[in-house]
Symmetry: C2
Subunit: 274 residues, 2 copies
């Protein structure tokens, strides 16, 4: 165990060839637009109601526990916890906390799935904010309508001041609390898992066309879809030069929850016209 | 927000009738055996490889993050984390940590599902323990065979000193670190979800017989199975006096992973003979 903390490395301490992936051979014909870290965070937070809360025990030890959260309009999480539970007593003593929220249904290697840490200080809401907090909890968990009224339960709102998003291997970033509060959850997220499965099962030809004609991987022999979002598709391409990621952005971000189908069909037309 | 921390309540501050459930009308004919909190904890920990880690940031703020863990024989969790990540830097500075591990596939209200918090201090294993830690991580995540060798990654073993199990509403307890280390994971746990579904879908008559003849709810009109374990079944019974939980223990704990079928069939014979 290191005795003293000096400088930490700023990149993986590993041979560069471990991370080598093929570059595109031609310029991409579609924009390389992606969700911002703030949009990634808001999308994850909107996708479930279950989080792990980190608080401080009376001896200063970090203490994790499962909680269910609701959301205020600005993405501030709302908890309703009992002082019969250690996390509830911890918050009364010390309001510093963080929440980890992961993908609702991760598939494959969980370290390659999305999660976000929201850190900040809890406050006990009052007046209108308390009413909004109760409504947010009720939407997340109808049972809170019962236990939320018990005298041992307290409503808390997390005033988020740090946001750290991890999307998977090599995909991670932070954003400001203001950007988080202002960002919108991706409206297509609830339909993305189905779209990815459908594209891979029934439209491998379209995916290969995207890679070859739109993403610049002219020598691609195979392409699978790994993720879909309002801004485009993440592909995983096979070429004679190796395998690696490719991005196919949509010309315009999708605004309708059911817009992925039309957007991917439009890409096929564009690719056939090249 | 309370300004000072005085005494916390020791029970829910709510009208007693909220928690009223019917009592059995006759003595139960089967033992009320259950998994110990240590067995509950070891069962949960054996059921997945994904946890949320709580550590301390450089300003003392509690910081949560997603990790994948392996297990040493005594149930000590093994992590392999990079100092490129905040949790990796936190652990080099301060080895106090906790892990929250939940049910692999919770169904229904997540607050009524199982989870455990393991708290303690991390140590960097050396020699034989380091080799065991690497093997444990590899079993949990084959990719660790690659990144585990990078210079920015450190293996850590959590020396567990606090164990807090929550099984759902009203089901929770703590156990000692020694009891946790000595306990065995329930061998039937991987088959329990299927067994519960099968009993509810195809054997409602048997469940009602258990409730009426074995659990003492002679006036039960309906019974559903909520959980199955090596020691018995948790039922939810409907009576003219209200609804509530009932326990039907097996005469002997099951030792074989596929033993639930034989044990539940034996209970039917016993109930018919009453």
């Amino acid at each position: 165990m290191p005795d003293t903390v000096t400088a930490f490395p700023t990149d993986h301490v590993a041979p560069a060839e471990v991370f080598a992936v093929p570059d595109p051979l031609a310029p991409a014909l579609v924009p390389d637009t992606r969700r911002t870290p703030a949009e990634e965070a808001r999308t994850l937070v909107a996708g479930t109601t279950v989080a792990t809360l980190s608080t401080l025990s009376d001896d200063g030890h970090p203490w994790g526990s499962l909680v269910q959260y609701g959301l205020l309009d600005d993405g501030s999480p709302v908890l309703c916890v009992s002082t019969l539970a250690e996390h509830g007593r911890n918050l009364v003593r010390d309001q510093r906390a963080s929440l980890v929220i992961g993908e609702a249904d991760p598939v494959g290697d969980v370290l390659d799935s999305g999660r976000v840490t929201l850190a900040g200080v809890m406050r006990a809401p009052e007046g209108e904010e308390l009413e909004a907090a109760k409504a947010a909890q009720l939407a997340a968990n109808p049972t809170s309508g019962l236990y939320g009224g018990f005298g041992d339960f307290t409503y808390w709102v997390l005033a988020v001041d740090r946001v750290r998003w991890v999307g998977g291997y090599g995909r991670m970033d932070s954003c400001s609390a203001a950007d988080y509060a202002a960002a919108e959850a991706d409206p297509v997220a609830p339909h993305a898992a189905y779209a990815v499965r459908h594209l891979n099962e029934d439209h491998a030809d379209a995916l290969l066309l995207y890679a070859q004609k739109l993403a610049g991987f002219t020598d691609a022999t195979e392409a699978a879809c790994r993720r879909a979002d309002r801004h485009g598709l993440d592909l995983w391409v096979t070429t004679p030069r190796g395998k690696g990621p490719a991005r196919v952005g949509f010309p315009e971000p999708i605004t309708a929850p059911d817009g992925l189908r039309a957007a991917t069909v439009a890409l096929v037309k564009m690719a056939r016209g090249v």
